[in-house]
Symmetry: C2
Amino acid sequence: VVRTRTSPDHSVLVVHTDRPDNDFTALFRTLEEDPDSYLTGHRATFASAVGRSFYSQILPSNSVHLGWTSWSVQWTSRLPVDPTEHPGRLRPACCDLDTVCSAYARQAARDWHEFVAFRGRELCDGGRLVVMTLAVGEDGERGFGPLVAAISDTLAELRSAGVVTADEVGRMCLPIVGRSAADFREPFAPSGLFERLQIEHLEVFDGEDRFWARYQKDRDATTFGKQWAQFARASVFPSFAPALERPAAAADVFDQLEAGVATRLGAAPERTPIPLAHVVLVKRPRP
Amino acid sequence: VVRTRTSPDHSVLVVHTDRPDNDFTALFRTLEEDPDSYLTGHRATFASAVGRSFYSQILPSNSVHLGWTSWSVQWTSRLPVDPTEHPGRLRPACCDLDTVCSAYARQAARDWHEFVAFRGRELCDGGRLVVMTLAVGEDGERGFGPLVAAISDTLAELRSAGVVTADEVGRMCLPIVGRSAADFREPFAPSGLFERLQIEHLEVFDGEDRFWARYQKDRDATTFGKQWAQFARASVFPSFAPALERPAAAADVFDQLEAGVATRLGAAPERTPIPLAHVVLVKRPRP
């Protein structure tokens, strides 16, 4: 899309960012070898990576024309509550304990404030930042209910079977926060400007459950369960690894967890609510 | 050094480059955690990485102020000779077979030409590139003789003991080339300019053998052997891994190889010749 707006000789430098423990070798190999890579056939396109948390300034001020992040700012920068002190809350941001929930709400507010502030410095005048992340629906919907229930239920079974200990399950938590439209607007109040950034577009919508859409067509409940379980393994199981006493056991525990989640979701397919936010920020030139 | 010449607010973006299979996580962790990291205490200093071979253009044209490479351009971009066809030449660039040596000489010339050409595009006007690499001394000295002999000798022993097969040893090779002062000048002939780059400084010198210098003081032959063996393991043993039939055996083979090299060098300490080149190129503004 960017290339349709530039001459082929115009250099484009893409900077990928992730935490230091990301597998950057896999990233660079894919960029080099994948026929669909943006490096293929675009001579003046370049790739680089920054292995640092984006909850700090990671690129020079006024150096970025277009920022894009998806499925990342819903992870908090830190655990605001020690899971060993309030164990057994798989999704602490929306649990049964007000002190835990509000600690996560405060962390979410602080993280969004920091995230926007640092991106505001990094963006050039007129630069834009596109954010896709987990939202809280206008009806308070936080999404992913069936999946979280299936994980929780399978963990209880694995604990009974002695595959994992009660302590391990107690420590497992997903530091994920959804944000409401009001939460996204918060740093920009009251003037509408923050670090010279302005909200150009803000939309909270109900994301499509693609596995459900496919199930509606083929009525293949087994595949429906498997697809959600695979998604969970790739996206959230890694967060459980630090809770395990023997890290070497992780692959086996995750195999059984994935199988249990697949069985449960396949047994009673239902549509998963996925509240999403799409936010576009633009940096105004200095007045 | 760079920071002594800028205001503290002046942004500096450092781009580390290596092949895709480098461990970038280790790089980013070190940058984050090491108290001596250049990120520590320098607010406007930023780090990034490019996991692509530098025998191509890897950064936008006219975007680099200062390039620096050490101990890298002596590795050829590819194996110009299939080691299975001319087996048993541990250091093919200076071996007993003219066709092999000259294939390496041609590859070295092409690689240096490409390396300089691509860096010439990436550098800004007035930008400089500092290169430290293996040289060939004016007397034809190619260096590292005692080390290569110790590796070769240990490999023969490990082959006799059945630790490695004759085929495996035959395939092992170090695609390393030294270059003479004339080799470095070659792309710049006859005008002295190539891709607007000019040689500002070129020096071929006899590098210090620090392990030898230490041995001269403490006469500790065992440590002398161990230090050279450790150096070899870190810098050249990884090149032997693809030659092994069972990659899982690499650690064990390398343990024995390291021990053998340490014993041999410790038994008869001698100074290792290390011919080095120090080259500084500068990019002239467009006339």
